[in-house]
């Protein structure tokens, strides 16, 4: 009897000690029925003209997934906050998402000057908050020590510049012409100028750099007038956001200089639908060359485009389908695959590890390979070159679509990729 009492006492004491130990705290933003994600992007202001569709398009895809069972039974809730493309707003809104909305992870943040501030202010590294599929090509985010939780989705602007340099060198009609660069004086300019140097291309004149949001019509007209003095049909590369590409093209229309240049626009600023919506004439964009890592958003024969169009029509009614919508839905699809790859016992650390381990195998609309690994945070790592027609369709330059891949840091020449894109998961619903 006495022995039983001692055993009971030890058992009770053991149980008390065990119950006093803290249970492993679950990460915020995940319950048995819901995963809360956060997005800070411009919904108002001038940048919203180009990127305002981002939150709703992502939400539309998540709604579609939720209607089809969610991720392991959990519905995805996207909390979107408007940062107006301003660093102060991005910092406060992202902090709000983490501390107030208590999101599990951030997804699809946009902009470099904005997101660098937001990352530090919201202490994403300290709190190990996954920072998924950031919409910028700034190669600085590929610094795992500084941004341990960040994964980019766009190829870097340096890669893009290297591939544009190769395109100019390989195209007989462009190679002998004078060449100029007009770039936004931020990551586009920094990475772009470096990329052209790495790609061995020297412009005829030092690049014209303008501040973010600071390219007025008058400045655009001045820059184009100065460059138009060059003989022949110079190559003019534009690396900036779509609204500034529109400003430059409209300035060329006003000055009757649309046919003076061989226009090459970067992937970020080359969305034909947005350019047309911003008032650029269809005759102006006809013949403009553009880099892209996605299929053309008007190409309904592409299985990703056609599936995303159907989802957009049902869950995002009244919103026209363009590159931004395609990009947003693609990022949302990558997010769902990442969440699934992290397993049913979802943790922030598990999600980051899952992308490092399996991210390069995710299905996506991009025609270049995904580059995620334990050491790389870069998403797509290549581009193909196309030419816009008057309908705003991007057709492969020379009739053949060739994707080139490269890196951001070396002078190694871009190489033609043999990557075969994965088929879209059945009905666009990942089952990895």
């Amino acid at each position: 009897m006495k022995r039983i009492s001692i055993v009971s006492a030890v058992a009770v004491a053991g149980a008390m000690v065990l119950s006093a130990l803290p249970a492993q705290a679950a990460d915020p933003g995940v319950t048995s029925t819901e995963i809360k994600l956060g997005l800070s992007s411009p919904q108002t202001g001038t940048a919203a003209l180009s990127y305002g569709k981002l939150p709703k398009a992502m939400k539309a895809y998540f709604d579609y997934i939720n209607a089809n069972g969610g991720v392991y039974g959990r519905k995805i809730k996207l909390v979107a906050r408007d940062d107006k493309y301003l660093p102060t707003q991005a910092a406060t809104q992202t902090t709000n998402l983490v501390l107030n909305d208590k999101v599990f992870a951030l997804v699809g943040a946009l902009g470099t000057a904005t997101h660098t501030k937001a990352y530090a202010a919201a202490q994403l590294a300290k709190n190990n908050v996954p920072d998924l599929f950031v919409n910028t090509g700034f190669s600085g985010f590929d610094n795992k020590t500084k941004y341990p939780t960040t994964f980019l989705v766009l190829p870097s602007y340096a890669m893009e510049a290297k591939i544009i340099a190769k395109f100019i060198a390989d195209t007989p009609t462009l190679k002998p012409q004078a060449s100029f660069l007009i770039a936004q004086d931020d990551e586009f300019g920094i990475d772009g100028v470096n990329g052209f140097k790495l790609g061995g291309h020297t412009f005829t004149k030092a690049p014209t750099l303008y501040p973010q949001g600071g390219l007025s019509s008058a400045l655009a007209e001045g820059a184009l007038t100065a460059l138009s003095a060059a003989p022949g049909k110079p190559v003019l590369v534009l690396m900036g956001t779509t609204d500034t590409t529109a400003t430059l093209l409209k300035a060329a229309e006003k000055l009757s200089l649309t046919t003076k240049f061989n226009w090459i626009v970067g992937s970020v600023g080359g969305d034909a639908n947005t350019l047309l919506a911003l008032g650029v004439k269809s005759t102006t964009i006809d013949g403009v060359m553009a880099a892209s890592f996605f299929p053309d958003a008007k190409d309904t024969s592409d299985e990703y485009v056609s599936q995303f169009m159907k989802i957009n029509e049902k869950y995002n009614p009244g919103v026209s389908f363009d590159n931004v919508v395609l990009q947003a839905m693609n990022s949302a699809m990558l997010t769902v695959q990442a969440l699934r790859a992290a397993g049913k016992n979802l943790t922030r650390a598990g999600l980051i590890k899952a992308i490092e381990d399996k991210g390069s195998t995710f299905a996506g609309a991009g025609l270049a390979p995904l580059n995620y690994s334990a050491t790389s945070r870069v998403g797509y790592n290549g581009y193909w070159f196309g030419q816009l027609n008057a309908q705003g369709e991007l057709k492969p330059f020379g009739g053949k679509l060739t994707v080139y891949t490269t890196d951001s840091a070396t002078s190694a020449a871009p190489v033609a990729s043999t990557y075969a894109r994965k088929s879209i998961p059945k009905n666009g619903i990942p089952s990895n």
Partner: protein
């Protein structure tokens, strides 16, 4: 009975306020600490407007640019001169003050819409000019990292509480100094300038010099606020100081009451709270995208109209009347 001087009374009030703020900082969550730090920073920036407009009668639409000057000076002090962040904030105030003084001398002959136009041009052009110098980091900007809180405060002392302490104490000390200044000879001279420049000149006041001094002091306070702003977002870049910031500060000053410093905290609170209230109302009431996006602007406009109609001299005067 021994009578306490007005100066001592103010000092005692500010010490009490500081003590209350430290207690509040201990009892609120990290988000509120972060927002509180913004409130204090905005309050300080509004105080700089009140000092210039309310007390010396000069109108500035370019205070966001003066904040930017302080912010860049502070950031360069940390990154290039490796100064202590507290010293860097003092440098921010000093450099902006000197810049403001020079601007004040240049603009001493201007008044009313001409001065407003000049400062507006400054607000538009200065961030763009900042893009042209590689040392300022272009559009990317440069880091402003004050580092982790001192270890002696313990592990539980968060970065946000550290921000709250620095921002609140800086705002309190600076507003206390302005308050003392306004009760000194300088304050009387500034008010004389504001009320009647001809009479002030006849009384022997050097109008141009005093206007420049007022501009310099106001710019110094704005520079410190700029330093605090970029501390809170961990970096400085031109787009952190849009023209809209200048207008927001003016809005805060009107709500506060441009002739009185007593309501500056309320002004700061309004600037931080309006987007939050709009978000909350928008999500509860629902409605179209246009409604949700227009709501913050509508609330600010309504508040401005109400302030002008019912509290033209600010809530501080109301408190005084009741007391």
């Amino acid at each position: 009975m021994h009578k306490i001087s007005a100066n001592r009374k103010r000092l005692f009030t500010f010490i009490l306020l500081g003590w209350a703020l430290l207690l509040i900082g201990d009892r609120i969550g990290e988000l509120r600490q972060y927002q509180g730090a913004f409130v204090a920073m905005y309050a300080l920036a509004i105080a700089s407007i009140i000092l210039l407009t309310g007390y010396s009668g000069q109108l500035s639409l370019g205070h966001s640019a003066l904040m930017a000057v302080g912010a860049y000076a502070g950031a360069l002090s940390i990154n290039n001169l490796k100064l202590n962040p507290v010293i860097a904030l003092i440098v921010a105030a000093l450099v902006a003050g000197i810049f403001g003084l020079i601007l004040g001398i240049a603009a001493a002959r201007l008044s009313g819409p001409y001065l407003a136009g000049t400062t507006l041009a400054l607000a538009i052009s200065l961030p763009t000019i900042a893009n042209q110098f590689t040392i300022l980091g272009g559009e990317q900007g440069i880091l402003f990292d004050i580092g982790a809180p001192p270890a002696r405060f313990g592990e539980g002392f968060s970065q946000y509480k550290w921000f709250f302490w620095i921002s609140s104490l800086a705002a309190l000390i600076m507003i206390w100094m302005i308050s003392n200044l306004m009760h000194s000879k300088f304050g009387r001279v500034f008010r004389a300038l504001r009320d009647n420049q001809t009479a002030a000149q006849l009384a022997g006041i050097n109008i141009g010099r005093q206007k420049a001094v007022a501009f310099g002091l106001s710019a110094g306070v704005a520079g410190l606020a700029g330093g605090l702003l970029v501390m809170l977002i961990s970096g400085v870049s031109p787009s952190a100081f849009p023209l809209s910031l200048s207008f927001s500060l003016l809005t805060g000053a009107v709500v506060t009451g441009v002739y009185d410093l007593k309501g500056v905290m309320l002004g700061g609170l309004v600037l931080v709270a309006i987007p939050e209230i709009a978000d909350s109302v928008g999500s509860r009431v629902g409605g179209s995208d246009g409604f949700t996006m227009a709501l913050p602007g509508f609330l600010v406009s309504a508040l401005l109209i109400l302030a002008v109609l019912f509290l033209p001299n600010g809530p501080g005067k109301l408190l005084k009347k009741k007391m």
